[in-house]
Amino acid sequence: MQDQLNQIKKDFENEISKADSLKSLDQIRIKYLSRNGIVTLLFDKLKEVPKENKRELGKSLNELRDFVSNLFENKKSEIEAQSTSLTSKIDLSLPGYPIKIGSKHILNQTLEEIKDIFKSMGFSVFEGPELESDYYNFEALNFPADHPARDMQDTFFINKNFLLRTHTSPVQIRVMEKMRPPVRAIMPGRVYRNEAINARSYCTFQQVEGLYVDKDVTFAELKGTLVSFAKQYYGDSLKYRFRPSFFPFTEPSAEMDITCFLCKGSGCRVCKNSGWLEILGCGMVDPNVFKYVNYDSEEFTGYAFGMGIERIALLKYGINDIRIFFENDVRFLKQF
């Protein structure tokens, strides 16, 4: 019996080594392992074997069956692997199928990055209308009626009392009217200026306004917050300066400059040879503004800032014509 088993083993080894396809392999499977296969039938014979031999033969049969099926599985994997490498003869360098890849407008990506930084510093995000009243856009922001400060911003008017907001600062008033301090928020949005359209200026752009009012808000904290923002956005090695300026709704007022990233401060066309680029305006909220929203300026102090998104994106990506933002040429849109 054992000899018979050895012979079967040998024959099987021989046959399986010759098998070269799944089809021939399947024939071997049928011959040995199917219901009527040689190995299966041997198990049937086990019944006829005397009891005392049963145990030993059973063991041998199990061994044979394991041997056969292991070898079979190995061979099968081998042949399958071969056949896969046969199909791999298709030209894998053919291009993939065209799919549409969406893109967020670079200005909104820029805005989102800015929002993320300020949100991480505990700022909320609020909005206000683009079509504003003279009251919110000018009066409550301490622009007196017949004052030259109004010339700082060329305005599109709807009529005497309504206009397209020239800055996002009116949202400061709207937010403070609704809330009591502490108020810490940024207010992004579209603004309009009646300026000639050319490579450097457009009649509309987006701003991010910022406001923080509480009991002990200082200019030093304004500087700290804006320096942190600028470093997070432009990089830690950034150099900056705060220079006095004028906005009717802040006092003291400042503009923040950073080193020109084109010339690294040595002076070039972009920074008008100054080595500096202005990125935002800011200051401590003017007590007159607090009067309009019934905040006590002895109890509360605050800071405000505003920056233009277009300008930031122009500088960061080296774009030399602002109009390209509004052309919506998909060859431009898809770059970002």
Partner: protein, 800 residues
């Protein structure tokens, strides 16, 4: 504003301070220097040369070939100016010099076949004026080879300073010098007045009367007789030129000089043209026409503050004089006006008549009422010096109510509270003193000062804080290393819009941003447009009522660029008037945030193993549904279909939520596309995001994925053509409410073989139960019942 550093140095000693330092410190203390022209630098190559000979260019009518002596050798130079002549002394730009106007380098050149070794310069090329009528002809006694920086005194540094509207005090050389004096703690010296007056009092000759003292609180007049109108002396002409002005005559130049020296605008009248030699300051009672000294006729509204004589108007107060009394070459006797006008009144008139002058610019920002007399005396002194004549005794000074300096206190702890750090009390006092504030009281808690009247912007404690902060330097304010954040809820009102943006980017759309200002024609495509009162152009005269026009303009531009297959979207605000009446209140208008997406060209491009497919109405529907399911709204919405042409579409549909329209879109009709010159098919859909944002959906709940098998059955029917899919789908669900969960249409076809007014539709039905395995039998029963119901309800025929 142009400021000459040499000029400034007449009032303050700046020895030992470099130009760079001055530029930097001015910028860092609030007077932003936008440009620096260092004459020593830009004129370093230019020299005086002598023209030896001039002959006509052999090949060009308008050119001359000149021989020029530069002090060392004779060079051949081509010149295009008609005034070039032998023996002239000229400004010569040798090869290698950079012409300041345009920043180009002079190179050895061959002009029409003749070589040229340099250039003879005109004033505009050197940025000395805008004169390009001919080359500059210099004084004869200059020696060829001398640098022009030396020969012409062009060794100045000219600063272009951007003065903010709150700083009228800085609109002059003395004003800027005053800031420098405070910064560097150096003394400011004002010019002394040494006036030789005649015995005759001015009052004997002329008189002044102010009838509107609100708008003209002070008026000073000086009378000078027997002046000689002539060219100004060289120093004065140079000063006037250095700040970019053109010298006119000695009197005009002196008034201009004083405006830029002290900041006080002056006006000189020809006294002999003033009836009764009388000045009356009054407001117009009715509209008049008035000719200003630039020979322009102007309509002046009633209420305009005027300077008049006893019979007529002679000047628009603070803005511009009249032609009827201006200084001419034959003027003998003059009246110098030095006055203080109400800033608001000047600004109002300047705006109304749209005329801004150097004078009005200063008056509307606020001049110093208490410098008025000094300025008049300074003018009188310079006029007697450079125009001869007798200065009559005394200044006629009408100043009914003296404007006194305000008292203001600054609490030191308030300064610290605002800035976040401490500045030494003594330092605070020093800064204010150097800026011209008079200290009247000081202790450990506060300092009390008198605010000089040239600082109308300083009205409150906070304004003093800014003065101290800017002179002390913003750079000296520390940068806090940490901030504290309250733990209350943070809000983000743009979160929804940001997520919508992400959804559309994920669906493969490119985001556009269009100009919200559009033409009236475009705005009229839908809604009730709001017009601008002062548009830039007809193309931008209205606010958008819909995002459609912007989207179609972008489609058009892309088609022009050759980008034919487009998936674009935009989120933006649209504006509609509620009725056609005037907008007097926010209630009269609606400002909504909308979302539009637009499809044109191919949805799927042809590739080596796929076929191309154009976008169609159903592509659009898929994106509508994809978006609405991403915001969990889709299953709560209904559709309304419009197969007939309407406002903007050939066919279209609307999405509704609780019977409210939340979006509309379809295939854009030809008349609309023609407006944008688009030939391709365009599908677009516009949502009202503001409306969608308001919807309060029940919170999302987890639904366990199905554990039991689905049973799938297909059937196909032949229907009458006019029966639409929506009806069939609704009917199927109304009949099988429990076991049937999903219906998919997988084939539609029409053919003669099934009848011309028929169509075949094939459906795949999914049956399942969330709690158990369905039996084939119960599904079969349900399925057969459905077949029966559909057959009878629609008079349809089951296809086998």
């Amino acid at each position: 504003m142009k400021i000459s550093l040499n000029w400034i140095k007449e009032y303050i000693n700046l020895d030992g301070i470099s130009v760079e330092e001055i530029v930097d410190i001015l910028t860092m203390s609030g007077l932003e220097v936008e440009d620096v022209v260092n004459q020593n630098e830009i004129y370093k190559n230019f020299i005086v040369a002598e023209v030896k000979s001039v002959v006509k260019h052999p090949n060009a009518d308008k050119l001359s070939v000149c021989e020029v002596f530069d002090g060392k050798e004779i060079l051949q130079v081509i010149c295009g100016a008609s005034n070039v002549a032998a023996n002239q002394k000229v400004v010569f730009a040798p090869v290698g010099s950079i012409i300041p106007n345009g920043n180009f380098e002079i190179k050895k050149a061959k002009i029409r076949g003749v070589e040229s070794f340099g250039m003879i310069c005109a004033e505009d090329e050197l940025l000395l004026s805008d004169d390009h009528s001919g080359i500059m002809v210099l004084n004869d006694d200059l020696i060829p080879g001398t640098l022009i920086t030396e020969a012409l005194g062009l060794n100045d540094v000219i600063l272009e300073i951007a003065v903010t509207p709150n700083r009228p005090d800085a609109l002059s050389h003395i004003g800027v010098a005053r800031d420098l004096s405070a910064i560097f703690n150096r003394e400011l010296t004002l010019p002394e007045i040494n006036l030789t007056e005649s015995e005759i009092p001015a009052e004997n000759i002329a008189s002044v009367e102010i009838s509107d003292t609100i708008n003209c609180p002070r008026y000073c007049a000086r009378i000078i007789q027997d002046v000689e109108i002539k060219e100004s002396p060289l120093w004065l002409k140079n000063k006037i030129k250095s700040i970019g002005l053109r010298p006119i005559n000695n009197i005009v130049d002196i008034t201009n000089f004083i405006l830029h020296e002290i900041g006080q605008p002056l006006h000189a009248f020809d006294l002999d043209f003033l009836n009764d030699k009388k000045i009356i300051v009054r407001s117009l009672e009715s509209n008049i026409e008035f000719t200003t000294l630039d020979s322009k006729k102007r309509e002046l509204p009633s209420g305009t503050l005027m300077i008049c004589d006893s019979k007529k108007e002679v000047a628009i107060a603070g803005i511009m004089g009249g032609e009827n009394s201006e200084i001419t070459e034959s003027t003998k006797n003059i009246l110098i006006e030095s006055a203080y006008f109400n800033p608001g009144s000047i600004r109002k008139t300047s705006k109304q008549i749209q005329l801004q002058t150097d004078s009005s610019y200063r008056f509307e920002r606020g001049t110093d009422p208490n410098i008025v007399k000094y300025a008049a005396e300074r003018a009188a002194q310079l006029i007697s010096q450079y125009a001869g004549g007798k200065v009559l005794k005394g200044t006629i000074d009408i100043y009914p109510q003296k404007i006194n300096p305000k008292e203001l206190s600054l609490r030191f702890n308030r300064l610290n509270k605002i800035l976040g750090f401490e500045i030494d009390n003594l330092k605070v006092a020093e800064i204010l003193k150097n800026l011209g504030f008079e200290l009247i009281e000081q202790n450990n808690e506060f300092i009390k000062v008198l605010v000089p009247t040239y600082r109308p912007d300083i009205e409150r404690e906070i304004d003093l804080i800014e003065e101290v902060a800017r002179i002390n330097g913003y750079d000296n304010i520390p940068v806090v290393p940490k901030i504290s954040v309250t733990l209350e809820r943070k809000e983000d009102h743009q979160k929804f819009e940001d997520s919508v943006r992400n959804i559309f980017v994920g669906l493969g759309f490119n985001e556009m941003i269009n100009n919200p200002l559009i033409s009236e024609k475009e705005a009229s495509l839908s809604g009730n447009p709001i017009k601008l009162a002062n548009p830039q152009s007809i193309e931008m005269s209205c606010l958008r009522t819909t995002l459609l026009a912007g989207a179609l303009n972008s489609v058009k531009r892309n088609l022009n660029f050759g980008n034919k297959d487009l998936m674009l979207f935009e989120i933006g605000n649209v504006f509609n008037a509620k009725n056609t009446a005037e907008i007097n209140d926010f209630e009269d208008l609606v400002e909504n945030q909308n979302l539009i997406f637009v499809l044109t060209g191919k949805e799927q491009l042809k590739s080596w193993n796929s076929v191309e497919k154009n976008f169609d109405f159903f592509s659009m529907k898929s994106f509508v549904n994809a978006f609405l399911s991403k915001i969990s709204l889709e299953k709560f919405t209904n559709d309304s279909y419009y197969s007939n042409e309407n406002e903007n579409f050939i066919y279209s549909y609307q999405k509704l939520f609780e019977n409210k329209i939340i979006g509309t879109g379809g295939k854009v009709k030809k008349q609309v596309l023609d407006l944008f010159d688009i030939q391709s098919d365009v599908f677009l859909f516009e949502f009202n995001l503001s409306e969608i944002k308001k919807i309060n959906l029940p919170p999302l709940k987890f639904v366990e994925p199905l554990k039991y098998p689905k049973i799938i059955r297909d059937f196909a029917f032949i229907f009458d053509k006019e029966i639409n899919y929506n009806q069939i789908e609704q009917f199927i669900f109304s009949q099988s409410v429990i076991l049937l969960k999903q219906v998919d249409l997988f084939d539609v076809f029409e053919s003669e073989s099934i009848g011309s007014n028929k169509k075949s539709m094939a459906f795949r039905l999914e049956f399942y139960d969330e709690k158990r395995t369905l039996t084939e039998d119960e599904v079969e029963k349900e399925f057969n019942l459905l077949i029966e119901k559909i057959t009878s309800h629609f008079n349809a025929k089951l296809r086998s």
